[in-house]
């Protein structure tokens, strides 16, 4: 499996993928026209035809055996420029009276555009058949090597919005207790509209004044900043890379936003460059194991590639690649690549 930028011919695959993603991946619109626009934007971004802050870098994971797209992921250079970027900032209001001995801290949600200008990790989707063999890790983390290579194209911090809690029926307690009163529609519909990039309605309908959390249902209060159970692994992955909850939640489902300074992300910070040596005895990666794997990128902007290799391929002065791996990475002997361990060492090993 390898990662490459999307190309115009990917449109059909992408539309199929959007159909499969369902509610929860708001940045993957199940609408051909919108998807085409998104793809066009990504292609223009890789061609540097757009201003840096407007760029969207959309990557596809390719199954070399079939050339099918197994998954996609993206980097948004700078959020909140085309549309307004909304979050609730989870703040506090303190009410205190010495006279009657009361000191109360009230969680308060403030509608904000504070994250405008941050970069964003988004649109991660892996086709169900490919959810194995470290594919999810490869897909998600391939972006860090891009960030490491081209930090100047991104903001100082990068965020990821995590899907908020909803029950088996797809009901979001946060939405039921807050958004529904103002939007008069189902969560899935609101979600769909956002996915289409139609955010004007948020400005029109969303309550603008701060919301005292105790005014929400107990269930809604409980899920503020909580991720959907299916998103727990993704959250854990981000945390391990140095992301942390930044006090902002999604205005619809209350899901947390996590953020990190790009320079502080483990896979950015720990990555290093090394030259390629193509060898017939290059080790193959054991994808059934979690450790012993290394991410390698070709450091190029236009035909950016990432593959997973066996960590033992990383020698003192060169990285040993098989001819097939070199082809997937689109590199030759002597080319410089960027490498980092797929997973952080567990703290007990450190």
């Amino acid at each position: 499996m390898y990662i490459r930028p999307v190309i115009p011919a990917d449109i059909d695959y992408l539309c199929t993928m959007a159909k499969n993603s369902g509610v929860g991946v708001t940045t993957l619109p199940d609408n051909r026209q919108k998807m085409q626009a998104k793809l066009d934007k990504a292609v223009a971004s890789f061609n540097k035809e757009l201003p840096e802050k407007d760029r969207l870098y959309l990557f596809a994971m390719i199954d070399p055996a079939t050339k099918d797209i197994a998954g996609i992921c993206a980097l948004e250079a700078s959020i909140g420029h085309d549309d307004i970027w909304y979050n609730y900032h989870v703040g506090k209001t303190v009410h205190s009276s010495k006279d009657i001995g009361v000191h109360k801290i009230t969680q308060t949600l403030y509608l904000s555009n504070d994250l405008t200008g941050s970069s964003e990790i988004c649109t991660l989707f892996l086709m169900p058949d490919y959810r194995k063999n470290q594919n999810g890790q490869l897909l998600s983390k391939s972006r860090y090597l891009f960030l490491a290579e081209f930090q100047e194209l991104f903001g100082r911090t990068i965020i990821a919005e995590m899907r908020g809690y909803s029950d088996e029926q797809g009901q979001s307690p946060f939405w039921e207790s807050l958004g529904r009163h103002f939007f008069q529609m189902e969560f899935s519909d609101a979600d769909y509209l956002t996915g289409l990039g139609n955010k004007a309605f948020i400005a029109e309908l969303m309550p603008k004044f701060p919301i005292y959390a105790p005014m929400l249902s107990p269930e809604a209060q409980r899920v503020i900043g909580q991720v959907h159970p299916d998103t727990e692994p993704a959250l854990a992955m981000l945390r391990a890379e140095g992301f942390d909850f930044n006090g902002y939640v999604d205005i619809f489902d209350g899901g947390p936003t996590v953020s990190a300074r790009i320079a502080d992300i483990r896979a950015v910070k720990d990555s290093r460059t090394i030259d390629v040596e193509i060898r017939t005895d290059a080790p193959e990666p054991d994808l059934t194991r979690k450790d012993g794997l290394t991410l390698v990128s070709n450091r190029r902007f236009e035909d950016y590639r990432v593959v997973l290799v066996n960590s033992t391929a990383l020698q003192d002065s060169t990285l040993h690649l098989s001819a097939a791996q070199a082809e997937h990475l689109n590199v030759d002997n002597g080319d410089s690549v960027r490498a980092v361990a797929l997973r952080p060492r567990r703290s007990s090993d450190a």
Partner: protein
Amino acid sequence: MLVVRPSNFVDLTSIERLLDATDARVTTLPSARDKLSEKIGQSDDAFNTGIDQDGPASFLFVLEDTEQQELLGTAGVDTEAGGGYPFFNYRIDEVVHASHHLNVSSKVPILFLSHELTGKTLLRSFAIEPRVKQTEAFDLLSRARLLFMACLPERFQRQVIIEVQGIFNDKGECPFWDAVGRHFFGIDFNTADYYCSVKSKTFMSELIPQHPIYVPLLPEEARGNIAQNHEAANRACQLFYREGFDKTQFIDPFDGGPVLSGDLLNLFTLKHVRHKKARPSDVVGGMKYLISNRSLNDFRCTIGTLVDGIGETIRIPLEVAEALNVSEGDAIAYAPL
């Protein structure tokens, strides 16, 4: 004879007993003795020196059965709601949330914290012995204040307001409080109510939530109680509506009860008041009137029959003259009951 007169310190124990007996919540009359005494002291000052001066004054009247020498009720009026401090209310307002594109449009009611009524004339501290609540004593006690104001209209702001008791149950549970104030004050309704009357007013400013409250987020019962009066206040409301008061967009920040407002000079009592010289005599027949003397610091008001006519002088029954402490030629004020 039922007479309304200024309160004094001798009334202290009687007022305490009365407050125990009434079903009405009288937030502005604390049952704690030292605070109650302070209120009476303030009222004393108001009647003695506050009539001619500017600034906040708090007049407290009592209703007395002069034959039984029994105290049957209290009623007050403040020249300035808040008395120099902010006077808190929620103002019910609406914001329209509409999206043409989505064909959604809704008016969302929002409660905004407001000090707008600070400094208005405030009718307050009404409590009446339950036994006489359904009699004309109720009207006498409530409206005597208005007759007092009719004798001294320049001392009061034209806008007159009343906070009507909102809905709570026998156990003292108040749905509006539980949905709003309780989250921030951390105490139950009765305690809050008690603190309101005995603690300094700063705790209110310290604890009351400053951000607007979206009504749709409140539980149904709390929503339904907004601007609704307690059934114990039905009679008072009827009386005030008859006087010319109306509901406002303001509500009590604690129990959500309505705030009524009226224009002083257009209240029924002030529009129909007459000022004449008294001639005590045997009056036969006539209509019932609310009658008061015009001695402001020894104000007296009662109910009696008069035959209204032309001229500067009017005959008043001897017992009324006695109750009002009025002699031949003294000025009186009267308005139809």
